[in-house]
Symmetry: C2
Subunit: 313 residues, 2 copies
């Protein structure tokens, strides 16, 4: 059985350990604080029981999953024979630099070192590190074991083969990988969240709407579709002629709201160059009305689910 090292045993590290062990990997967890590692081990069983209760794993698998996770007595022991290192230490650039340098010194030469950081691009801490070509960000959403989305963010030095191997590994672990072609502050997930939050703060701050009502706009509105499909597929299905038609109909309106500071972002030309063909490969324009029917059936299934959950709680 191949082995993965998880360095840092906070909530994120614990989530990663669960994910890797569920996918059949042996997992060595290590934390500078032995108490933290012991505490992490104690959280595994209830977390897995919860997953089983919701039919996300089988109860009968739990002992095997738990048996794959162990606390390493030292960082060296954690790294020994590991095929991948997931570093989940504190969000502090100095600590990241120190840990990554140590991992690079100790880990076998071809082992990728991924960081769970949500805010620090890898180039900022691995610049002076010998093995910077194997360093990259592999950023989950909290809690990791409940969100399949994972961002993979290479630096300009990251070996393309390292990126490919990490991407494959993550997919084997059931992750939906979001591959960034270049580093950008906040990556994709938090930039999208940040853009929505910025507008939310503007609307609440100026007194246009209460926070409570704004929340309804998402959880009883946009968020329902977004739990089923992303924003690009959403707009592709919201006009009879697909995304190009959507942007032709509504692009000017949206940009007229004065949202966003990007003078250079031209929805129409981006759609023509990067979206129209790709989205039509996913769902041909001729199939849009059929796909709308399917979307509405999934929305109804989601509404039934929400209704049931409400009755139960």
């Amino acid at each position: 059985m191949e082995k993965i090292a998880v360095i840092g045993c906070g909530l994120i590290g614990q989530g990663w350990a669960t994910i890797f062990a569920q996918s059949g990997y042996d997992v060595a967890i290590y934390d500078a604080s032995p108490e933290a590692a012991a505490k992490a081990m104690a959280t595994m069983e209830p977390r897995l029981s919860d997953l089983a209760e919701y039919d996300l794993i089988k109860s009968s698998e739990i002992p095997n999953i738990l048996a794959r996770i162990s606390v390493a007595a030292s960082i060296e022991a954690a790294l020994d024979d590991a095929i991948y290192v997931q570093e989940s230490g504190p969000e502090d650039i100095n600590i990241k630099t120190k840990i990554t340098r140590e991992l690079d010194t100790l880990a076998a030469g071809n082992v990728p070192i991924g960081s769970s950081t949500s805010g620090i691009s890898a180039s900022r801490y691995c610049n002076d590190i010998y093995g910077r070509s194997r360093c990259l960000v592999v950023h989950p959403i909290n809690p990791p074991h409940l969100h399949a989305a994972v961002e993979i963010v290479p630096t300009q030095w990251t070996d393309k083969n390292v990126v490919k191997r990490v991407d494959n590994l993550m997919q084997k672990c059931g992750r939906q990988t979001i591959l960034l072609n270049e580093e950008i502050d906040g990556f994709v997930v938090n930039r999208l969240q940040g853009a929505l939050l910025e507008e939310a703060f503007k609307l609440v701050g100026s007194g246009v709407v209460s926070a409570e009502d704004l929340d309804k706009a998402i959880c009883d509105g946009l968020g329902l579709r977004w739990a089923i499909m992303g924003p690009m597929q959403t707009i592709h299905l919201n006009a009879p002629g697909g995304v190009s038609d959507y942007v032709a109909r509504y692009g000017k309106m949206y940009r007229g709201f004065g949202i966003g500071s990007y003078d250079e972002v031209d929805w129409a030309s981006i759609t023509k160059e990067k979206l129209a063909t790709k989205m039509s490969q996913q769902i041909p324009v001729a199939d849009i009305s059929k796909a709308q029917v399917a979307r509405d059936r999934r929305l109804m299934a989601l509404l039934r689910h929400k209704k049931q959950v409400q009755v139960e709680t």
Copy 2:
């Protein structure tokens, strides 16, 4: 039984008719094209059957619901005795002006006239209309019968009692009302969507990420939480000390991404003035860790639901 008039029988008008009839109101639908009205009637039965299939209504209720909806022979007949008018005509300011003027002339004096417009603030078409104090926007999300969120947007002339009556009516119809205190282009729903789309176009357009991967960031990431709770409640639960703690920890980071053109939007002071107390009334800071556990259970239930839907299709 009280009666509601639905003027304009496209997809939005059809959705409204279903909603009102489900809630026990008699519904008179009218369209300038009699064919459109007849066609709308023909869509009602399959739409209701779909809702019953997904346990959102009882099959046994369908005949009663259908019996409440009828095509009015004239606009006068539609308005006769109606307690509320939902106008769902074309998105064209000249047509809106013409229809609203006609409705104002024909409807009884105290009857509110709501428009389904997604993009035209009511003040732009009702300025010169005698009964402008009863005109306002009542904007659903498409398809209306599958999204509870409804935006209520009064103009500066709209009577406060009209707003209150429409809000009550919508709540009686199971709507989650989002009450705007002033008109703003795009209202709340489309401004939030527009802000996220602007960032999405920027990221895809600049080649940072593919549209396909960007979609994963939402539907396997942020969208899961947003189907359960809005963005403000989401961040309130994402720091041990609630929303103030979240903004203290991450506000500077988000604003550092260079997203949004709002120099005047200060997350920290908005949080202090408009968010902290309100969010703590919803979920006290002392209860946050308990609420996180509840959130994770709802996330697991949602993941199980998505897994089941995938198996079925």
